[in-house]
């Protein structure tokens, strides 16, 4: 008889013990893991903001407040803070450009002398229609939804 056979019953019992312990430890990890996953899912759903395009439109003035060809900054409010939007009343069209540079989101300023938006941080330049002309900005200024109704000019969330 080998050692294994003599210790047969004990061996079997020990194996059962290992399996049992493996099952229990798996149980602990499963309960812990499911709990953590549940909290994480709820947290992400709670923290993740609604899509930007779902933002409400807000009245920012009357059409006659915006002379043709001169961008004018208005405030667009969200979550207690107003953000800057340049409204450009072009010939036959209206555009709303976000004030944040597309490089690192410093606020651009419009200069009538050159007809450009300039960024004070790294010197990006945009033309009056928000197209990036020079500097590190990788894309045109972002646009907001804009609607011109009989009772006023309405600006909404970002659309680009």
């Amino acid at each position: 008889m080998s050692d294994a056979e003599t210790k047969g019953p004990g061996q079997v019992k020990k194996d059962e013990g290992v399996n049992r312990r493996r099952f229990l430890s798996l149980g602990v990890w499963t309960i812990g893991g499911l709990g953590a996953a549940g909290y994480l899912t709820a947290a992400l759903r709670f923290l993740y903001p609604p899509p930007a395009k779902a933002a409400e439109v807000q009245k920012v003035g009357m059409p006659e407040d915006f002379p043709v060809g001169v961008p004018k900054m208005v405030a667009y409010s969200g979550a207690g803070v107003s953000n800057g939007v340049y409204i450009l009343h072009g010939t036959g069209r209206w555009d709303a450009y976000d004030v944040h540079c597309t490089h690192l989101q410093c606020p651009v300023n419009y200069y009538a002398a050159t007809g450009t938006y300039l960024c004070p941080c790294h010197g990006s330049v945009f033309d009056i229609n928000g197209n990036n002309l020079s500097g590190p900005a990788p894309s045109p200024l972002r646009r907001h939804q804009i609607e011109v109704r009989s009772d006023g000019v309405y600006v909404g969330g970002l659309i680009t």
């Binding site: 903001p49 930007a52 207690g80 690192l104 410093c106 606020p107 002398a113």
Partner: protein, 463 residues
């Protein structure tokens, strides 16, 4: 290891002050916790317009500054935050220098790096809370950097801000992060770091204690200290306490003499054309971005910091050299010197480029002098792009000679003819070739324009 063993273990008498930095860091975190809790009793993380017609968060900072001991407590918190970054960096440098990240202390190092990351997050999240212009725009740019991360960039920024912009939601998030999540995370990682330090011992101590001592040493036997050594308690701890006291005196002095400032309330429309400046420990990245061409921004913003993080975390495994002696690790030492030197230099250049020196204090004179008046005007408004080695458009305004020499468009100054001088045309925005200067900012004050005009009319002398 029992308590007695921990308290009375022998420490070489010639132990370096550098080895106590971890203790000083811990003391600084206690300072942040105490002053932070006090600030939280008066701070209100709300952007609603308060009774004084300013955002409530900003108003609560004003109230803190008006409260008894308020400036001291806020000063200790603000200066403490800066001091932590410096001392944590020095602590890491020391650990690197003595090879404390090598076997068997790899985990100690890795948890230390994680603590460093939490420290940076603490600083970044705390920066927004005063809700002034600096806070608002530095956080706008700081969070905008994450948009350069591939795939997850836009998701990350919206998650951090709670929307497309920095709003009241962002302030609440940063407040929760700064005062709840990060302290919990910090304590957890710090506990592991500290246990590892105790468990694995310190390099300097372990290497100095003679083997003969280790063999006969009975744990906890007081007075059983070999020659040239001292017990940890109270001798070493006294020295640590002395170092902490020194740091404390410096902190209190800074907090009393240089009160933490509060700029104008955050204005997301930026009507006053505030120019965002990053917090000083991001200046090196800020400066690097200026040197990199635009299309390489993603590399500078995401690539370098990510690489630095990976290298730091994996250092114990990348560096296979078994020696701890700095002399036998020339490659590692050279890399550290170059990296530290580079970061210091970039921080300095970045800092120089944002410092606005006394430009607004210039007085109008009919016959201004170049040295007394004109240099001050130029430094105040033009230094960002035309001084300190930067020659935008080939124009260097650091000296009289380089100003007269001019840039690619020739000399910007025609002595005696202000209206014909390109300098005057650009600062007044009348040039048809060059955009108004300073680029993208408010025009320089009328008194400065008049000073420049008078100086050129006088013949633009180097007087």
């Amino acid at each position: 290891m029992d308590m007695d063993d921990l308290l009375y273990h022998p420490v070489p008498k010639r132990v370096s002050w550098w080895d106590f930095l971890g203790f000083a860091d811990a003391a600084l975190f206690v300072n942040q916790a105490v002053t932070g809790m006090l600030l939280a009793t008066r701070y209100r993380p709300s952007v609603a317009i308060g009774t004084a017609n300013i955002p409530d968060a900003y108003q609560s900072i004003q109230e803190i500054m008006a409260a008894p001991a308020g400036p001291l407590i806020r000063g200790l918190h603000a200066w403490g935050a800066n001091a932590i970054v410096v001392l944590v960096f020095l602590h890491a440098l020391r650990a690197f220098y003595i090879g404390a990240y090598k076997r068997p202390r790899q985990a100690t190092w890795i948890f230390g790096v994680l603590l460093g990351a939490v420290t940076i997050l603490f600083g970044f999240s705390g920066y927004l809370l005063p809700w002034d212009q600096q806070a608002y725009w530095a956080t706008t740019v700081g969070t905008a950097m994450s948009t350069y991360a591939p795939l997850v960039g836009n998701w990350l920024i919206e998650l951090a801000r709670g929307g497309a912009y920095i709003t009241g939601l962002t302030l609440s998030r940063f407040f929760a992060l700064h005062t709840m999540l990060l302290p919990a995370l910090f304590l957890l990682i710090f506990a592991v770091h500290l246990l590892l330090v105790i468990n694995k011992g310190m390099v300097e101590v372990e290497e100095a204690v003679p083997e003969s001592y280790k063999r006969i040493h009975t744990p906890g036997a007081k007075g059983d200290i070999p020659a040239g050594f001292m017990p940890f308690w109270p001798n070493t701890i006294f020295r640590m306490a002395l170092q902490v006291a020194l740091v404390g005196v410096v902190l209190v002095t800074l907090a009393v003499i240089f009160r933490p400032g509060l700029g104008s309330p955050a204005d997301p429309l930026n009507r006053e054309n505030y120019q965002p400046v990053p917090i000083w420990y991001f200046l090196s990245i800020y400066q690097m971005l200026k040197f990199l061409p635009g299309r390489m921004d993603a590399i500078g913003i995401i690539g370098f910091p990510l690489l630095a993080g990976i290298v730091l975390l994996g250092l114990p495994y990348f560096d296979r050299n078994p020696s701890r002696s700095p002399r036998r690790r020339p490659l590692a030492m050279a890399a550290a010197v170059i990296l530290t030197g580079g970061i210091t230099a970039f921080t300095y250049i970045g800092w120089k480029s944002t410092v606005q020196t006394g430009g607004s204090q210039v007085k109008l004179k009919d016959h201004p002098s170049f040295k007394a008046d004109i240099t001050s005007v130029l430094q105040g408004s033009c230094a960002n792009c035309h001084m300190g080695g930067k020659k935008s458009g080939g124009l260097d305004l650091s000296t009289y000679e380089s100003l007269i020499k001019g840039g690619r468009r020739g000399s910007p100054v025609k002595p005696g003819d202000p209206d014909g001088s390109l300098l005057m045309q650009t600062v007044q925005g009348t040039s048809t070739e060059v955009p108004p200067m300073p680029l993208g900012q408010q025009p320089i004050p009328a008194t400065h324009i008049q000073l420049l005009k008078n100086w050129i009319k006088d013949g633009a002398h180097n007087n």
